[in-house]
Symmetry: C2
Subunit: 308 residues, 2 copies
């Protein structure tokens, strides 16, 4: 029986490239594995896969009765809906420890680094499996994406060394240029429906019993949102009602200015005041230096919900 | 600030030796760490520490405001009572994934092997830190204990290779003899109060909302229990009431015959029938081939509780 290797809902490049890279590794060490995905590819991920010659992993949402290796999260809300009917055989991740549990022993490769693919590189090293050039390429891109080309505070020395090593294997001379090309693809938001943009990188979190959805769009210039910000705001308000969420936050991240404008709809009027010490004015708040949802947005929010 | 490295409540040899071994490793890689424990040493663990010249780790039950590296579990019920007020920086374990969660990224070294110390050996290898002979000795003993000298179904090739390597570092010629010496110490139950025996290796589990306590005593001949079995049964009945538990199970494991007699007090009269296909008769049931609480007792029980 093959295991499925699958990332989170609304997959980002780390989830997709990680599933492909880890499935390849598992097959090499005699554990049959199939890369899968829970949703559509983002334009960024499609760009990466095309650049290095990969098809999208199998689209599969139901895993009851299957063995599953989870990539890039350990949260029930981000996992397949029927994960409780599956057997989780492993988790590779770089986030806080979530609420997934198992009834049998498993392997967890979780490290406080910038990207799951950095951890997957450690797995290749552990098993002494050679990384093919094209897999090195997509792993490198996933790390450049998650670390915002090393600008994110989540970026560690391990991520940088890992990108350097992978670039060499992939035969990429200027990996920063590849990174900028990716973020240019990400910045092309014109003509895309608001809902598609909001959902492009959207995660739900269970915060002390409250459902909180947080989306993020990383671009090289926030001016691309000038004409559509009102649409985005209307859409997250809808999303809050539809999902019976306590709050929906959308981070518009300027990777060159290195900060984020947060669009906020919430049942708590003082949410950003309590979490970040900055009030929400007309549904918006600028968070200087904030690039990372994981490290700079979620923990403070979680603490704010604990104190409610 | 030093982190504390601490195993589970009612510590076994894996928890104690693992805390010492991991704290040493962390200090070697420039992360100050202090080994700690949540309870008294078992006679087996005291025997191991004395044999290799170690003091018991610091006895410490409160960790609010501290950084904690968790050893040998990922369960709230087995962690320090105030773990929610601490920062979990890492987990090294070999059990099912439990219900501990964090609000910040951490490292998890979890593998489906026979002992946490086997995983800690992998950490030494990863960081390329030399294991001192006396630390190799206690790590080796912890693995021999958890794997019942390789007889347990939880034992993997990795555990066996690890013991072989550690025995060489420790300068131990016949590690199986050391293992039998440990189990002889474990088998000396005469004169020990029933409560002390029941609690010697006792873990509480949250099974679908029900608190289930499971103790285990591993000996080289079940005859040592002939005169005290009634006392043990009276004590687990008391323990059930005191802790408001759904069930308390005590495994009397014969490591030579390779099976366990389970003493049962439970709110469900048909619990062992549903979990193991064998009815409890007069509060007792023989489970042939059962040596491992983790692999042979807990999962089936958890499934039985899911189906209630």
């Amino acid at each position: 029986m093959s295991m499925y290797v699958v990332g989170h809902k609304i997959p980002d490049s780390d989830s997709i490239c990680g599933a492909i890279a880890l499935a390849y590794l598992k097959n090499q060490i005699g554990e049959p594995a199939i890369a899968a995905r829970l949703g559509e590819l983002s334009p960024e991920t499609a760009f990466i896969l095309e650049k290095f010659g990969f098809e999208a992993p199998e689209y599969k949402t139901s895993y009851a009765g299957e063995e599953v290796y989870i990539v890039d999260h350990s949260e029930i809300t981000q996992a397949p809906d029927d994960i409780a009917q599956a057997t989780i055989v492993g988790i590779v991740d770089h986030h806080k420890l979530g609420d997934l549990t198992t009834s049998t022993p498993l392997e967890c490769w979780i490290r406080p680094v910038g990207c799951s693919n950095t951890v997957i590189k450690m797995m290749y090293d552990f098993y002494q499996v050679k990384i093919p050039a094209n897999i090195a390429g997509i792993m490198m891109c996933a790390i450049l994406s998650d670390t915002v080309i090393f600008k994110s505070p989540t970026c560690t020395t391990a991520d940088i060394r890992c990108v350097e090593a992978l670039a060499e294997i992939a035969g990429v001379e200027d990996f920063k240029e590849v990174g900028m090309d990716m973020f240019k693809v990400k910045s092309a938001v014109e003509g895309t429906p608001a809902r598609d943009l909001v959902m492009r990188d959207f995660k739900d979190f269970n915060m002390n019993g409250n459902l909180v959805g947080i989306g993020q769009l990383e671009v090289i210039d926030l001016a691309v949102f000038d004409d559509i910000k009102a649409d985005l705001e209307a859409d997250i308000a809808k999303l809050k009602v539809e999902g019976n969420r306590h709050s929906v936050l959308l981070l518009l991240t300027d990777i060159m200015k290195e900060g984020s404008e947060m669009l906020v709809v919430s049942d708590s009027a003082d949410l950003t005041e309590r979490a970040y010490g900055k009030p929400t004015v007309d549904g918006r708040v600028w968070l200087d230096g904030v690039l990372s949802r994981k490290k700079q947005v979620v923990p403070a929010l979680q603490d704010a919900f604990q104190k409610v």
